[in-house]
Symmetry: D3
Subunit: 254 residues, 6 copies
């Protein structure tokens, strides 16, 4: 398998890879992650999972050629603007994805995968790949890195996965970028009632309340028990899931 | 509980209900549902579930005042334009929802619920309620009628629920609108490979392939074994789920 | 003549009718109609006129195949947002019409007719059919139901026709949906000066004053003398006009 | 009465006139007017009517202060793009009007009048003044110059008024700008059937057929009998109508 | 050389000139120019330069056919809305340019030149010609009238050229439209610090400070020493530069 | 001086720096740079200049706090879509800049600087900072890295500075990222006539010809004589210019 960074490739290399390769676009965000994690957490984690998935595929061999685009460092975070987020509007993010995807189609790509690190991007990304596949003769895929791990390790704590700035993300950051985590991570008591966006009153119901993120202090759960060892296991599990998803996507669309 | 139809109410009645009531907006689609179901299936089923949920709430008592808007009969169905759909673009549907929700906020509503009958509307609806709750002091909720039935009867066939124009929807229509189902429903062999949008090659991965709906003939599974008895059970289960979701939403947001 | 409801038809039936049929789209509004008429008055009256026109055409025979779309229940009512309207912005309504009309063209329709029940939609609808006929090889028509009755009965009161929530609309509603009219309809004194939008200071001049609808209390004239008998005559006259217009449109565009 | 040209005034003069004056914006088009009239006919005629109305008001005295903006020389003429029109899209023209009107409100104007010379601008202009009066505390008016002449001279030929590049406009141009009319104006036989946009098959029905303007050769009626004497009478009648409309608008909105 | 005014030409003349001619569009603004210059200064000066350039080309002979469009009298002046500007938004102006340019391409023009008189239009105009040349098979050019005078006379005062409502523009207006200049032009002391937009703290840096135009009183430099003699020289130099630019554009794109 | 990377900072740190700090946003592109330079050249060089400018400021001391955002790796490159660019549309890039800048204002920033590495972004960036300073109480600055070096070393070759994928950029890349330059850089003969966008036929005239980038092979000048020693000098000169510009911006806006 070849992993090619688009930003470091010449245009002929990028063009040549289009016929059979898969273009991979990581997207993230710049938004508050409580007092102990950095603004770029979602971008950093999406990149960390992609890095490790690529390494796995390279080790195993036989994988498709991947052309990796530079990560989009900004995402849709209007709910975090109360706390210094740098956010793209939903239509702006959708337009960025449309333009990037159209560019890839114009370069001859037939297979594209978007890998997301931020919950707020999720619907926008899925809509973007849907409309891309309608207007271009492509197969387009999308996932958030925490959704491709069925059957993988969840560290025994599914109730806080993925959450926001809590046990899950903090553990991952302790594994991937320990120097960027402010430690010791302070404990926090559960918020009562818990945030409606994270604990809807009925399964299957999306509920959004004005001011809810500010009310609950910006995170979903206590991160003080996060640890690097769990983080490594969780990170490898996501990477393994993404690697398998890439291979399956390749096989289904060759 | 009072259920008030907005279209039949005077403006003073609509205004008066805003302070404590919940505005409920059904949305559907007009799109191909194979040779045996009508174009309006998704709208009709969303309305059927809402009708029955309202009846349940009325029987049980103690529920909040509901102000029911007329259903939006058109949805986002670009993937069915190959087969006579009447489709709104994603930005158009988003604008319709924004405008309707803003109107409700201007009328004093603090609680709104969108009930959807068409998979293609799902992300657009969820994005709309998210941005609504950011710009207005409201709590906004959304569901697709088949997502609020956790713990309810699935007729033993989760693999074809909800699907499109298959066993599930056909059974529901045989229960709700039997005269609109063209019978006998012809059998169809499974499509190989099954549609990528319905059977992604890896869990958690959204995959969209150009022309996939036309390739698989417009439905996800064989509907010939659908029957009204199952349909009635499935329909009541969804209605019960929606009634419980409405009650839970009311309690969480009073 | 066949009148086919799109929402109840299969896609093959909808498609098959495209070559020679006329697609008919009713559009209305949800807006204040004083204290005695319901929010959906405009939608209900547009549908009532279309119902009766279809019945007339069916009785007379020889008319073209009509494929009737579900009514768009929401219209452009920003001037009624002060009183609980549910309003689409002008660009939103234009986009809905564009998308619906484009869908019909994609399904093979060459002839489309929009029938409107709300004054505020009028220019938007006419612009929409104009641009539709520019971009697609179609003939598109539009009318508001009260504009196709030249030579028909006006009940002797042209000065209050159509007005808003006044004698004309109240009479029609007493004929079409008597149970939705709150009676007795209270009398109201004329507003002085009368609303500029209804009584421009010079013929041919459109004049819009900020806050004018609120100033005049939301209606154009006293509705207390409305009666069902006049309403029936007025309704039949509009239905007869629309039936003739449909037939003339068919003959001119075969 | 003072008539002030905005383009020749200092900003302090423009600002000072805002409190009590009426801002007047002529709009026109650049589009084909058959082989004998120039592209700018609609703009030139709108300006000619405004010029003469201003002169009348000045002669009569007692009229409001008018601040006349430079005419917008381009209009919405997509139906004439087959023949060298320079056309603004409907949304572009709407945006131009919005921006100009908002600027005037920001400068303190409470009364604005748009005077139009081109049929294709009509709905867009009326929508623009409606939404302007909703968002700003103003009274906004609009007319096309041929609509403010009720009771005035129509030269005995209402069936060709205003038409396009026919007897009416050619007569006006022979009066206002004789050197721009290519004479002798060639006769043309009636087109059969006449254009649907000009002769709808039923009164009150707007009908637009793809390609209709090209089919009928770009004009509505034979212009060869146009003459300057009629043109002068018609022009004066429109100017008198506009002058009366301005005075009536002033009185109704002081 | 023929200079043809589009507004006075028939459509056949406009169409015929498209194959080899150059379409020329002047654009300006309506905005404050201190207490002594009129709102339309930028439009008037762009037109004055074009008039004189055309006269030069006509005298010299051998130049291409020019089809001159009516000037767009409104520009992008949001920074002058504090002082009675009539301003188009950036997207509105961009849309106007797109629509006008597309119309010209549809009429068969392959060469278009935009001549601008207002600094605030500059980037928008350049972006417009760039995207025009991408979507149409044309060569499009643009300049602001003060940028095409390299090697020409600058009156020895480059530090105030072009400025805004200062020595340069006032001199030009004294030459081109003396009756529109309010004299004597009052002296004004230099503003300290000078406006950041005109005197960035480092060369090559664009700096925009909120409220800066109001702070500096709406002009960049003292205009009291402006005189008509300098103005004539400056005006002729710009006209000569534009004439040479037109000829060079013609030769490079024949 | 503190240079803080926003992506590695907590939200409290980002928020705290807003009152007095300067937010710095690098923007670049992904586009063809001939056969010897990578797609990301413009992004890499903007970042290289910013890196070195920050180092200079840190060495010299006394500079303002800088909060550096992650570079936007994509730019507006429609003219390179013929050769595998990944391009944002002009409106998309404008929206990204608007959203990022608005986010910074919402976080309390009053001073923002955009540093650009790609010519195609230039006008869009300048428009974005202009409109930002109109709607927010901020001072916003922008430069392309090659425009802030007045008085600095140009290597004696101003005629090829900055160009595209030629001597200048190749020298810089040989200094900043030598391993990403494919060597030996092949020589190329001058293109005749040279590209109109780079050599307009008259100074001050922007000329854009359809297909020009493809005609000239994607670069402006021969890069084969580029060398790392010149590159280092050029790079340091740009960094010194940017450092001085930042300091001057700080002093002018404290």
């Amino acid at each position: 398998m070849i992993v090619r960074k688009l930003t470091e490739s010449t245009w002929q290399e990028v063009r040549a890879a289009g016929a059979r390769g898969i273009a991979l676009l990581p997207i993230g965000s710049q938004e508050q992650h409580a007092a102990h994690l950095p603004m770029g957490t979602d971008t950093l984690l999406a990149e960390a999972v992609v890095d490790r998935a690529e390494a796995l595929l390279a080790r195993e061999g036989g994988a498709p050629e991947l052309v990796r685009l530079p990560a989009l460092p900004f995402g849709h975070s209007p709910h975090h603007l109360f706390a210094a987020a740098v956010s793209l509007g939903a239509s702006t993010l959708g337009a960025v994805l449309d333009d990037v995807l159209d560019s890839l189609a114009a370069s001859g790509y037939h297979r594209v995968l978007v890998v997301n690190g931020h919950g707020g991007n999720d619907e926008i990304m899925r809509l973007a790949v849907k409309r891309f596949a309608l207007r271009a003769e492509v197969t387009a895929a999308a996932c958030s890195y925490w959704t491709v791990t069925a059957g993988e390790d969840d560290g025994g704590r599914p109730e806080v996965t993925p959450g926001h700035a809590g046990w899950f993300e903090t553990s991952l950051m302790l594994a991937a970028h320990p120097h960027l985590v402010r430690t010791p991570v302070p404990a926090r008591a559960p918020v009562e009632p818990p945030p409606l966006f994270d604990h809807p009153p009925h399964p299957g119901l999306t509920v959004e309340r004005h001011g809810e993120w500010a009310r609950v202090g910006g995170s979903t759960d206590d991160a003080s028990s996060a640890d690097a060892a769990h983080g490594r296991r969780l990170l490898e599990a996501r990477a393994a899931g993404l690697a398998r998803a890439i291979r399956a996507f390749d096989e289904a669309t060759r």
